[in-house]
Symmetry: C2
């Protein structure tokens, strides 16, 4: 049985192997991806992002546990509330933890260990931590591919967790149907929430650690930032895009019907607020499906993945056509200030023929 067949048959070992091949960009991984692609498009992809210290990972764990619960029974009084009707129960959940902030230490590993203790042994949960690739294009491409494999493997809900509040998150958020932005009280200047720009990719806002002092201030700051943010129908028009092909829908004027991001309070440590959050996620999915937003996001997602792959392919192809030593030579000429970087590019393009 080949890798793709194993994945489709629900073999966890085949799944883990496929993910490794796909992450490493091997020929076997690429071939598995092409075989699996027709089986994708069913999962609800939920991005969870926010600064370090917000308790984002605990929140993701609690979400996964909640989705895995039968309709009754839980670890906290609040969690015992029955699940919203829209949530099939229990559904299969995958967690993809991406840490683009550390190209060096592979910070995701630690989180993985902690997580495994919590959710280990549940065959309906699959957890994958992704170490950072060399380039941003790399990590976004690799995440897209890993998510596709998990989608094809039948995970109905895929939680994509990212750290930080930069361009990396925006790129990874483009993969998700629903993006949750997590804040917490007392993490420094409230005004920074405005500056971060991350609010404008949020479909659901969560103030975690809501048992800490200052929760009202954080919520108030979020609410006023939200009001200042660009109107939602335009959000994708500014979505950090490769812009490979001009005039594509990502920069077009197709307005997405209005969704006002709710602001919810949670305490991930004891599960407070998780049912309401699950409800908001289900509501957002229903909203997307009712308004055509689901298909629109699918299109943007696939386009953005295509753009990244194309870029990588073009670079690799160019590299293979370059005569030996040509690159080193133009670098030397640049070092001697005899040619400028633009002139170096021209020389290389000429010599690649």
């Amino acid at each position: 049985m080949d890798l793709a067949e194993g994945v489709l048959a629900g073999d966890r070992l085949a799944l883990a192997r496929t993910l490794s091949q796909v992450e490493n960009g091997t020929a076997e991984g690429k071939s598995a991806l092409s075989l699996l692609f027709p089986h994708t498009g069913r999962a609800h992809l939920v991005g969870v992002t926010g600064a370090s210290g917000t308790g984002k990972s605990s929140l993701v764990n609690q979400l996964a546990r909640y989705y895995r619960m039968p309709a009754k029974g839980a670890s906290s009084p609040d969690m015992q509330a029955s699940k919203p009707a829209q949530v099939e129960s229990p559904c299969r959940v995958a967690i993809v933890a991406v840490d683009p902030t550390s190209p060096f230490t592979g910070g995701a590993i630690l989180g993985d260990r902690i997580r495994m203790r919590d959710l280990a042994g549940d065959p309906g949960v699959f957890i994958r931590s992704m170490a950072t690739r060399g380039s941003l294009g790399g990590i976004a491409s690799a995440t897209a591919a890993v998510v596709q494999v998990l989608d094809a493997a039948g995970y109905e809900l895929i939680l994509i967790e990212t750290v930080g509040a930069g361009q990396s998150e925006v790129n990874i958020a483009r993969l998700a149907h629903t993006t949750i932005v997590v804040e917490a009280p007392g993490l420094g200047d409230d005004i920074q929430a405005i500056k971060a720009g991350i609010l404008e990719i949020a479909d659901v806002l969560v103030v975690n650690k809501a048992d800490l002092p200052g929760v009202e201030n954080t919520e108030r700051a979020l609410r006023s930032s939200l009001n200042l943010a660009h109107p939602l129908p335009h959000r994708f028009m500014h979505h950090g895009k490769l812009d490979l092909i001009p005039g594509q829908s990502a920069t077009s004027d197709v307005a997405e019907p209005l969704w006002v991001p709710p602001i919810l309070r949670t305490v991930a440590l004891d599960g407070t607020g998780i049912p309401k959050l699950v409800e908001a996620i289900a509501d957002h999915r229903a909203h997307l499906e009712a308004t055509g937003g689901w298909e629109q996001r699918e299109r943007w997602r696939l386009q953005s993945e295509l753009d990244l792959l194309l870029q990588n392919t073009l670079v690799e192809d160019f590299r293979s056509r370059l005569p030996a030593g040509a690159y080193e030579q133009v670098v030397e000429e640049m070092m001697g200030r005899r040619i400028s970087p633009f002139q170096a590019v021209e020389k290389l393009v000429d010599s690649a023929g």
Copy 2:
């Protein structure tokens, strides 16, 4: 007089115009860059990065004021200490403020206004805020180009300020000879310092707001993180690289002689610790020059700029060769799950000929 001549002659208006052309990637900007490139390579490029709330911008302002001071006289008792002998005084200073965290709101503008009040009217200071480009490659390329123009214009010290702690910073840090990482007490979990990975690009560590409680804890956390970090000689081997051409020095085994990043305390608001910081910056430069590290970083910097420019050029060239409608067609086929993203790339490459 054309733009480049104006820049070389010290015309501020010509400089501002050139920077705009360069940022917008116009033909005029590219031509000016090529004319100016032979005049670059003299400036000391100092990156200053750190999370929001660390008081990074105030620190950059104080640094600029200090470099501009005559040998005596200052705004605080501490600043009255004479400048270190290595620092020519007063030297011309440029500040480039880059905010890659906000692809939406252009957060850099506000900081620019505040800065102008502080340093306005000094002809030896030039300040440029950069709004974020669509892609990370874009902002890094644009920053590299802006820095080159300022270098050619005779600014001896260029402070490149970036927000956040992600891949963007790593990419922009690659531009600098010396990278300063700023922390402050009480910005959340100290353990996050380890995870952020940003420490490993630091040449100088600063605990700003050192008059706040918790400064000892922050310093201790930094020190232990620093000890855990990868040995410095290997830092560039993991430097988030495009890896366009394999076997280049950025991934080779050339070890940089050891530099142990000092940890300094500052209070940017009243100037405390600024002279020591300026001394550390001068020490680092002297270290780089004595060990060949300066030339090595110049090489990496130019290579990384070349890689980014090449990538942009390849994508633009490909776009121009694509028949009308070809892109839209493969996106439709992907939406219908008839072809995978890899197959879509193959089809496009075939149709571009």
